[in-house]
Symmetry: C2
Subunit: 214 residues, 2 copies
């Protein structure tokens, strides 16, 4: 029984509307009025929950980082003890986790799209501050952790420079997300996943090439 209106729910409503506008029209055309219209709210109401444009944008960015971050932590928890699983299963789980960062369905496509627009805008717009910077560091931390777990379980081929491989895999994910969002006709969801899968398989030790015998 919320007293008055639940402000948190209102903010979620607005942020979701903002995401839809960004996906549909791009961040450039995402104005306070456009978001208010999309949320079927009066701009006056909207401004009652957000002090201004900067607040709204920062809150939206932070919200989406929280959401994606939450999902990634879910995946991480679900993995748990990696060593007890068969080798192909380990790679499958790692792929599934990192695939959370690829535009493989409408939800993730929207997330990657918004994330891309925010990031490019953040290059020159101080409104986002260091949000994108910390996000980039977080992604690398995660990727590094996944690679470290795979290595600890003996799934990777030896002699890899984990620092370099972290950057390589991160760049691959970013690039797949970029093309998947901007050129979905060239790189569709299936191709995205195939490339990621192939890359992880490539990092795995060539013990079982599984070319002929499975």
């Amino acid at each position: 029984m919320p007293r008055y209106v639940d402000p948190e729910a209102r903010r979620r409503l607005v942020v979701n509307a903002l995401f839809r506008v960004v996906v549909r029209d791009g961040l450039q055309r995402t104005s306070l009025r456009a978001v208010a219209d999309e949320a079927e709210l009066n701009i006056g109401s909207l401004r009652h929950y957000f002090a201004g444009q900067q607040d709204l944008m920062r809150f939206a960015m932070q919200s989406m980082l929280d959401r994606v971050g939450g999902r990634l932590l879910e995946h991480l928890g679900r993995i748990g003890d990696l060593d007890r699983l068969p080798r192909p299963e380990r790679l499958r789980l790692a792929t599934g986790l990192l695939a959370e960062l690829l535009p493989l369905d409408e939800r993730r496509r929207a997330e990657v799209t918004v994330f891309l627009d925010f990031n490019t805008a953040a290059r020159t717009d101080p409104a986002f501050g260091d949000l994108t910077h910390r996000a980039a560091e977080g992604t690398r931390k995660l990727v590094h952790r996944v690679l470290a777990r795979l290595e600890a379980s003996g799934t990777l081929r030896p002699g890899l420079d984990l620092g370099l491989e972290t950057e390589r895999l991160t760049a691959l994910l970013d690039g797949l997300g970029l093309s998947g969002v901007l050129h979905p006709d060239i790189l569709d969801a299936r191709a995205c996943l195939d490339v990621l899968s192939a890359h992880l398989e490539d990092l795995a030790r060539p013990a079982g090439p599984s070319a002929s015998a499975n």
Copy 2:
């Protein structure tokens, strides 16, 4: 002895000014007036050479595609017969060619930055039409060609799916460009080049690991 003013030179002047504004302030804040100011031209003069904003943007995008494309063709021509070169040299040349797409110095950093802003904008702005689409196809064509040459010269390890490897390498280049431009403090020029170099080395056949004996 140019009759009147050389219109082509004027357009180049304007386009260069536009690039500077985009790099400095972002495409969002790149207005006709800002470009005119940067070019030290009156906005009326500017509009004498460009019908409107769309024309200017399209022309700028096309110009930068031409420039980068020209440089890539230069590299391609300079390579010529790959098979006559020693193996490490082949990889070095391929790396140098593809490094043209990475923000390794101020010129390339500016190009990648502008290219990124244009591409993200093109997702929702019909002004750019299919320019970015053809650019994306062109990049893949180039990457595929490089990989095919390397394979034809026996430099790559066997059994590679060139189509998939093309997407992988393209995504890697895009991702390196993205991080190199947006987070240069996390991924500096050296790291960019190292990752690309390592990737190509990884695609090369492990015949000579060159760990001890060269």
